[in-house]
Amino acid sequence: MTDAPETYSAKDEVGQVRARRSRRERVWIELRKAPLTAWFGMIVIAFYVFVAVFADVLAPYGEADSSFGAYMPWGDGHVFGTDQIGRDIFSRMIYGARNTMGIAFATTCLAFLIGGGFALMAAISRGWVDQVISRFVDVLMAIPSLIFALMLLSIFGSSIPALIMIIALLDSTRVFRLTRAVAMNVVVMEYVEAAKLRGEGLGWIMRREILPNIMPPLVAEFGLRFSFVFLTIAALSFLGVGIQPPTADWGSMVRDNASLIQFAQYDFKAGLTPLLPAAAIALLTIAVNFVVDWFLMKTSGLKE
């Protein structure tokens, strides 16, 4: 009645996985099961990226083309009118996508490079290396980041490289905390010990042994961090120390056209103009959050 093989063979032992699927198949299966919110988020992000990449083609006028009348109303060749010095709002919205998102993306990448790198180093070395880095990060986190950023920007000037460096540094503290925490769970595994016993260097252990195992929370954090960086840049621009004119950017567009909102009682559409870039920011933030939520739920195995 049994199908027991008479002789034992290691090859015939049954492993855990019955069906093996390629990565693409697995991704597709997950996507099909994704909730509506996640789909909405992904479509919005894809649309933003598309607009950012093809800004030159899509925009009807130049980014800094101020050859039109100031405060022109909606319609008449300018879908959303023009701003205080006669630049086409619609075109600047499109270029703004490229600038704001590009800078935010670069900043987030840099923040992960700095924060993640130091965190892995701290987690693997432990002892005093960990103590020194962690306490330094604590000090940085103790200072309110927006005020700290304002201070640093006024010292180093509001050039785009300075902006990226400063925000990346400030945000890397959060990345550090998360990465160190998840890496701590991995460094105690025996395969890390085995790599140390083999005589592997710090770089190998960081990149090959630990990083692949902590990717899911980091990817989710990347999305969330991107939203925050994006908001910080917009906030700084709104305060006038972020991205400088004539570079189009949604934060400074809100500030430039803020005064229009009081004319809403005369021309409702004109009153909406400063809200357009604000809405663009809000929509992207929400979309990213939807996707991150779904991704976190998938990878952490939480059901609710």
Binding site: A10, K11, R198, G199
Partner: protein
Amino acid sequence: MSEDLLLHMKDIVIDGFSDEQWHPIIKGVSLELKRGEVLGLIGESGAGKSTLGLAAMAFGRPGIRLTSGEIWFDGKDLMKISEAERQALRGSRIAYVAQSAAAAFNPAHRLLDQTIEASLAHGVRSAAEAAEDAKSLYAAMDLPDPKNIGFRYPHQVSGGQLQRAMTAMAMSARPDLIIFDEPTTALDVTTQVNVLAAMREAVDRFNTAAIYITHDLAVVAQMADRIKVLRYGEEVEEAETQEMLSNPKEAYTKSLWAVRSIQKPAETSDDYVLEIKNVTAAYGTVPVLHDVSISVPRGKTVAVVGESGSGKSTTARVVTGLLPPKEGAVLFNGTPLPPELKGRSKDQLQRIQMIYQMADTAMNPRHTVREIIGRPVEFYLGLKGRAVDARVSELLHLIELDDSFLDRYPGELSGGQKQRICIARALAAEPEVIICDEVTSALDQVVQEGILKLLMKLQKELGITYIFITHDIATVQAISDEIVVMWMGKVVEQGMKDEIMQPPYPEYTELLLSSVPTMDPGWLKGAVAARKELSIAEQTGEA
């Protein structure tokens, strides 16, 4: 149906959910249990023992559904009654004792409160009565200071005591049926004896029926009146214990019984590849090893035996350089090794390799077999590209697997295959010494045998020296040349296998050897009586 039939499970089919679909786990198994009878459920991991055991109270873990069949308990079909009615039975009429007592107790509550919780919840008796009863149960379970032990928290008692307290907890409501799910698997052999004796006595005294789930045949021989063997969710065979032990019918059952058949004549040599000299080591200020000296002859197997906490694994950490010793030295081929890992050369690292107990955590789950085995090949031997692949394939064949495993991840391998890959990774470095830290204790019997045979074959072909750390005496008997017995951080004795296994023994060795269950159903009584005479048993903290 006869009067005293307590539990009758008919054609049970249970499905488990994985890979987006339902797979059958139990494929139509029937089971009968009379009042006061103990049934042993035996099988390898994945055979469906635990699932079937839990189904006896009509309970399925998440991701599991009871598809069809009838579960008659004391005249009621548990599949038909409501969840609330089933809930009322669980804990009061049917109790469950889990494998890891440490994980099953709530660390924030005292033992007594948890022991009587089920009795109170089901209104079996008042709190005061239940508390008095719990004390007598603790006494029955042979726990020390039964009047006060209930006021301790779970972390304040030992693992063996906790497992006994859990049995007392199951007994509290005087259930008709207790399901024991591998209750002694996590315990040391010396502890296991006491726990088994206490459980056996309690079951006899209260005439409780029990289902005893385990993969250890010798244990089930002590506990069960009848034994049922499961494999792949199907029943292989069922018989009275005595009948099953002396006369198994199916080929599979016979193979289970024959596992401990490996024999190897002990040899030794005076050529020592590794010598541990008077090593004293500590974690921080906590001393772990006291003046440990072990000599390892070249090309032979030295088994290091002892219960958990005896310093076996710490000795391995000193040899590998993970824990620099406070005093003493490790000599490799006559030259002392630098105490710290950082001080050792690549060549020194290459010569001593390690295989871990849990193959799951010893391999990076994100690396393929090709990467796992290939890395030491390219790291130590400096091979590149094709040459690495060729060597990896050679190693795979050496461990009796083939090229189809190259691109699999550890998660796609069975337990035995994973451990084989770990062996291949160690071999890839072309070492002289391999330290095997409990390499077979997480594996099923048949798989264990395969791994041990492989290790012996490799030793014969490649002349590798093993330091084999284990608490399993049967394994030691099978493969060792020399044996080192450790206890509380000291070496009790070292010698040839035949010498150590022959009386007269030092007291601790005798305790250890007498604690290993045998297939004889009468063994437990004799062992308990014998260990009462050993004063050392008091010191193990469990008596």
